[in-house]
Symmetry: D2
Subunit: 250 residues, 4 copies
């Protein structure tokens, strides 16, 4: 009998990228003129040119202007592909993002799914309080924590055991998998650009800079936070402008 | 304890629609001229005008021409909203269709999910044979059928029972649902137009008129077949042209 | 020789629609539960049920909630097709809207284009002042107005005359039209839903309720204003919620 | 007075790219299993491993399989940004491609447009023959060629002269440009992935390998041919599979 594995965390990697702040500035410059861009950046930053990074200050002003006034298209001429390992219920919510996103997910029809299941970690709040539209989460009691771990692991084990038994009896993978819980991990590629990523982040992260409140489920928030870190390294000026302008996708 | 319900079928309803063959013809006529349209339809059908349904023959020829030469945009100026009740694994595959589709699905975060689970019916083949990329399905033995029903129903019952117990212990719905299997039914609204629907049907139905083979899972095929019937009633000329031209979305 | 026609206005008609506030509420109700919806609406409006229009108050509260918290998808399950007659430079800007929009435009390759050209009306400001990123428009002098009308009409006439001459000499329409100005009127069908329309309106109208400033060219603003009127008649609660929440598309 | 420039050709550059055949194979492998991929490639190519380029033969077989059976999503995890200089009438047709495309175009509102206009070259057929839906093009007579060049250049010159005069009189750029012909060159960034590019190429090129006929205007065909060359260098296996499978986008 196969060992069941449990994980309390998601996995996110940036497997391919072609994304820089200069891509945004270059795209914006096509639609206007170099001199205008210079005026914009001066008007916004009032900064003299950074001697070591010529163009940096100019780009910062321009990107800030684009973000503030919701000129979204210059943020689309770049590309990032993320590898994500997360529970099925996270993938379900993730793939509702249609515009500016491409996906490839492992298939339960073509391969035998691995016995890796999600269990909430210690810092995962288990209890929902408040009214519809304004829920808050609280840690929950030790008893609740024990009950969750018990129920999830019991069902995960039993389900995977039945899954394997059906496979061994010659039943098709796509039929046997019907009994597998949405807490099972899946893996997928997700490709986006800075604009579509910002839209995703505005809905799937919790951040004090946000002008519009969002209420993401904790597990997709974990994924989103990792993606944001990886993105911020590649496009620091764009990321800063996103934060400075209320974390609303332009 | 709540009774568990099993269903062997999906449910599809057309809840809102504004879709007719005339919508296609009208949109095409904006981009050209009435006289040209007339010539096209003659060239295609060689038909005299239907006296009782003036415009019918002309529309048929025009729609056929558009389908054959892959002029897709005239097929987008119409709209249908379907209500679908199907297992989660079907919804997962369905919502991978991004372009020309809008969705609203019931949420396991905001409501307690109902105990309705999918069991394969008598005519659902259970065994997959052949090579990757060219699978076929066969009925399977009586023993396999009994085993599938046994395993699925055992896990469904146990999972839902644990789900309810966790809820009664005050655990948040979004946590408790992690153990629910993908065979649970969900409900959603799906809005599309004739073009996006044809693309969906080309991938999710099996039909002898199709020039490109497709290998849909049986359960999404059930949904697709119902949608096709409902659509064909509203847009019979478009449906006929789809079949006559290899069931490839224009 | 063909007479040249000038027009100072655009034309917008709603040629097909299936769009009501109830469509939004119904879609939202799929994803939650009737009782929750009721609680939401109470929490938002604090209103007792309207006796003559049962459901109205409930829908208003729900739609307001969805708009405020940016739940955009329920606004997509409806459809409107507009017929638009506007100058080419307006169509160019309009069709940059990709998501949730479908188009069919008359073709200069397949038909002879009509001699209808745009001239700015009396209330169209002609002079741009201020800095990049913060332009304002002013009426301009009588002399400027005369010069604009003179130059536009001279070129429009000469261009259309050459266009017809080339056609009469057997030159292909798609070649002869190269010399036609972008002030020529074109016609197109544009199909959208309430969500994609709100996004368009947020960028192409000027309105004191808007939290994000927009700087549309006057001529596309004319089109947008007509569309907004036609839409507001069909979906008054959604339109009111759009205005009440800063005219930002959810 | 500014000199008017004429050009008989378009300009296309690949300014940013992150696109390789391996991207396609990697994305496909997420959704299946390494071993299955190997079987697929054997089944398709029957090839032994290329010793110098390990993985090449395997990728070729896999990519061919994906293309043939219309598994489109693995072709989306890559990105190319093209700079295009082409007449406005080409940009108009180009930007009708919505899905998987991002654009930034120079703006006639924010900058003074340059006096660069398109004239058909010697090899550009000028005369359209045949019936609607099945047009062919023929070279045209010398007289027709002279007439085209005469009419276009006369209007181009007069229009640009009036444009500059209006600007010098203080009229806003967005008003003055109304008289500029669609033969004026514009520049834009266009970002796509292999899948959206293939869809574009299937409609905008003429190629004997194509199973579906297309009738692109010559000038957009020039752009498409350049893009195809630049793409084929980066993704030779994908390009070969596109040709081998009827040039239909998967």
């Amino acid at each position: 009998m196969t060992d069941i594995l449990f994980a309390q965390d998601v996995d996110v990697k940036l497997v391919r990228h072609s994304a820089s702040d200069a891509d945004v500035a270059n795209a914006a410059r096509v639609s206007t003129l170099g001199d205008q861009v210079l005026e914009w950046s001066k008007a916004f930053d009032g900064q003299v040119e950074d001697v070591e990074h010529p163009g940096q200050a100019r780009n910062r002003g321009l990107i800030n202007f684009l973000m503030r006034d919701r000129h979204g298209s210059p943020f689309e001429h770049n590309s990032m592909t993320f590898f994500v390992q997360a529970p099925i219920f996270v993938a379900r919510e993730f793939m509702r993002h249609r515009v500016g996103w491409s996906y490839n997910e492992e298939s339960g029809r073509y391969k035998e799914l691995r016995p890796l299941f999600y269990l909430p970690g210690e810092d995962r709040n288990l209890v929902q309080v408040g009214k519809p539209g304004a829920y808050r989460f609280e840690p929950g009691t030790d008893e609740q924590r024990v009950n969750v771990e018990h129920s999830l692991s019991v069902i995960y084990r039993a389900a995977y055991s039945h899954y394997q038994q059906l496979l061994s009896q010659g039943v098709a993978r796509e039929v046997a998998r019907m009994l597998l819980p949405v807490g099972l991990f899946t893996t997928f590629y997700a490709t986006c650009n800075a604009r579509s990523l910002m839209h995703f982040l505005s809905l799937r992260t919790i951040n004090e800079n946000a002008t519009v409140p969002s209420f993401p489920q904790r597990e997709i928030e974990l994924v989103a936070d990792r993606m944001e870190e990886l993105w911020a390294e590649r496009m620091p000026l764009t990321h800063a402008a996103f934060n400075a302008n209320g974390r609303v996708a332009p």
